[in-house]
């Protein structure tokens, strides 16, 4: 067990963590901004919007993320019309191509999670809001949306963990996040197993922290669902 090398590998790979976290969090954020309207479209939109939304979700959930990344990075780079357009300065950079691919991907999954969240809002709450005189948009803003978000939180927390894992694919389009740095270290030292094991441990640590944070947030938001601790008298049933 070459501890010196393992330590060296750890120090070489840790600089990739900021990029990994940036890719993951920015994609989840942008993905949410895509998912919310798409979910709304699919639930309450006219027919053509529903079909469009369903088509988008189907396409991005049924094809591998790596294919999506290649299509956006190399594929769009082939098209002359794209290269001469105003989008090129953005699409030229592998960072933005990765963000676009990851966001579109998590947007599709996120819209399913949010759709489930919206559908789970008890109808009684909406009726009560209407009875209180709230207009449609106000009801959405003050009742439906917050309740849906709280319901969707575990699912979205899972999405964030999945996104952190998915960022490793960005290494294939030359980005130097954790996996990219690992590949470079291996090409210099030829020590494959040790480097990938260290990389795996870093991802595990990241995901452990993330899962814990999400669980904590979930606990705070669902405090009202847990039984209240009342002191019991002797003789009370347990």
């Amino acid at each position: 067990m070459d501890v010196a090398f393992l330590w060296q590998a750890l120090l070489t790979l840790l600089p990739g963590v900021p990029l990994t976290l940036l890719l993951a969090s920015l994609s989840v954020l942008l993905g949410f901004l895509i998912a919310a309207p798409v979910a709304a479209m699919r639930l309450w939109g006219p027919r053509w919007l529903r079909v469009l939304g369903s088509g988008y979700v189907f396409a991005f959930r049924s094809t591998p993320l790596l294919v999506q990344i290649f299509l956006i990075y190399y594929g769009l780079g082939q098209l002359e019309s794209v290269r001469h357009s105003f989008l090129w300065p953005v699409l030229r950079e592998p960072f933005w191509c990765a963000i676009i691919a990851l966001s579109l991907n998590t947007g599709a999954y996120g819209s399913e999670i949010l759709r489930g969240g919206f559908l789970s809002v008890p109808h009684g709450q909406i009726e009560a809001a209407r009875a209180a005189g709230m207009a449609g948009w106000t009801t959405f803003r003050r009742v439906t949306f917050p309740l849906a978000i709280r319901q969707a939180l575990p699912g979205y927390g899972n999405e964030l963990v999945l996104m952190v894992k998915s960022t490793s694919l960005a290494s294939i389009i030359t980005l130097l996040e954790i996996t990219g740095l690992a590949a470079r270290l291996i090409s210099e030292t030829y020590r494959v197993i040790e480097v990938f094991v260290v990389a795996g441990l870093i991802y595990l640590a990241l995901n452990f922290v993330l899962t814990t944070c999400v669980a904590l947030m979930d606990r705070r938001l669902t405090a009202h669902l847990r039984p209240v601790n009342t002191p019991s008298m002797p003789g009370d049933p347990a």
Partner: protein
Amino acid sequence: MQYPDFLALFGFGPQGWGAALLRGAGVTVLLALCGYALGTMLGGLAAWAKLSGRPVARAIASTYTTVLRGIPDLLVIYLFYFGGSQALTWLMGQLGRQGFVDLPGFVAGALAIGIVSGAQHTEVYRGAFRAVSTGEIEAGRAVGMSRTTLARRIVLPLVLRHALPGMGNVWQLTLKESALVSVTGVVELLRTAQIGSGSTGRPFDFFLAAALLYLGIASVSGVVFHRAEARTQRGQRR
């Protein structure tokens, strides 16, 4: 430069890549099937370990699912590809066989996919088992069924009914993971598209064709699982 037209590029002639892409799609499906089969077995084993209540078994199964849901699939595949041969050589060495034993890319890929999908299957089976109402099991015992008969005629069919949607989901995930095996050189669908795009300089065409093929496979799988779900839901009020 003269670009060959679409039909010549993807047709089945000597210059055409149609046959190669379909062959790649076949390898993809075979890879996914092998991995999925392994995953159902591992998942069943780990779910049984988690549900059995025995602390050691539970701990091992929990570590398995936590580790595999926390590391990127790409790293698992790399580790199996590079580490698999070393592990097998060591194992064979212990059993008295000298010399190297190689783990071909396809096998390493299928094993990696199997291990990852096993972790996903565990959660599906665990949830499905919990969903079986205790009333059914009690009724079976009351009628005098032995433990094996109970398992075979009551528990397993009910678990299957509850697990099937989740299993369908895991299949779709497995199909997409198979694309990652392309990094080890196995010539499945994505690798074929990469070779083609490098050879002809037309990544957009090839990656789009690959995406469409993945969509096709996913659609057909979806229909198959839907039919299976409908059969197991016979007689259920929806």
